[in-house]
């Protein structure tokens, strides 16, 4: 047989071939893997939710802390009204 003819035969060797069949247990395995995958995914979701709650709580704590500190400073400032409005410290000595 000539080389060209032989190559043509090889290239056409899949003609009339039947389709390979998927293993019988493949779908059962797919179902099982989906079931096994679920709790793992739910765990990740809860970790995400917990992380968001933690971030909200921390930023609230920071804001509250900042708020009370500002009030305290304001109160301290009110204790020295003269010092703030009048910069003459030793007026009696003149």
């Amino acid at each position: 047989m000539s080389e060209e003819k032989w190559i043509d035969d090889v290239l056409n060797s899949l003609e009339g071939a039947n389709r390979a069949k998927a293993p019988k247990d493949a779908f059962e395995n797919i179902k099982q893997k989906i079931i096994d995958d679920k709790p793992r995914k739910q765990n990740y979701q809860w970790i995400g939710v917990a992380a968001v709650i933690l971030i909200v709580l921390c930023s609230n704590a920071l804001l509250l802390n900042d708020y009370f500190l500002t009030e305290e400073v304001a109160e301290i400032e009110q204790e020295y009204p003269e010092l703030i409005s009048n910069y003459t410290l030793y007026e009696d000595e003149w």
């Binding site: 047989m1 080389e3 032989w6 190559i7 035969d9 090889v10 290239l11 060797s13 899949l14 003609e15 009339g16 071939a17 039947n18 389709r19 390979a20 069949k21 998927a22 293993p23 493949a26 779908f27 395995n29 797919i30 179902k31 893997k33 989906i34 995958d37």
Partner: protein, 193 residues
Amino acid sequence: MIDENQCIRSIALGDQDALKELYQHFGDRIFNTILSYLKNEDDASEVLQDVFITVFNTAEKFKFNSSVSTWIYRIAVNKSLDFIRSKNAKKRQGVFTSIYKRDSGEILHDAPDFEHPGVTLENKENAKLLFQAIEALSDNQQTAFILTQVEGLPQNEVAEIMGLTRKSVESLLQRAKANLRVELKKYYPERGK
């Protein structure tokens, strides 16, 4: 005939019966395609499962811009090529680790001669050589050849799966055939006689 789009909508809501229906419709076709790439039934079965798990997990993101068949084939082709790449990477690691199985001493990664289960008896030897030669093609040429010649899909559907024009697929197919001819010359039984 199943309503593929309706199937995907139901799968997106977590309906496993719809997934089974889709699997019964596409399972063998997708397995046949994956097997043509991987040439190993166990590996092909593993990737087939992975394809349908991906379909189940990503159905809600499917935009219906292409047909369901195109989408599933695209997933299968990508997963098959990824599997081959990771297998080849493991082979390269063989420089540093043993490439032999501990118990039997057989080579871990080398696939034995692949015989496609659907090929007729008189074509078995030739088909074995053809699958061997296909390995020498580039990823794109392999995909064009497998989807059109092994799977029998029309060129326009293959173009959609590969994200190319029909002309590009036609040219890839021509180059694939030309390269296969060159590769097959090495296997010609009367070579050198």
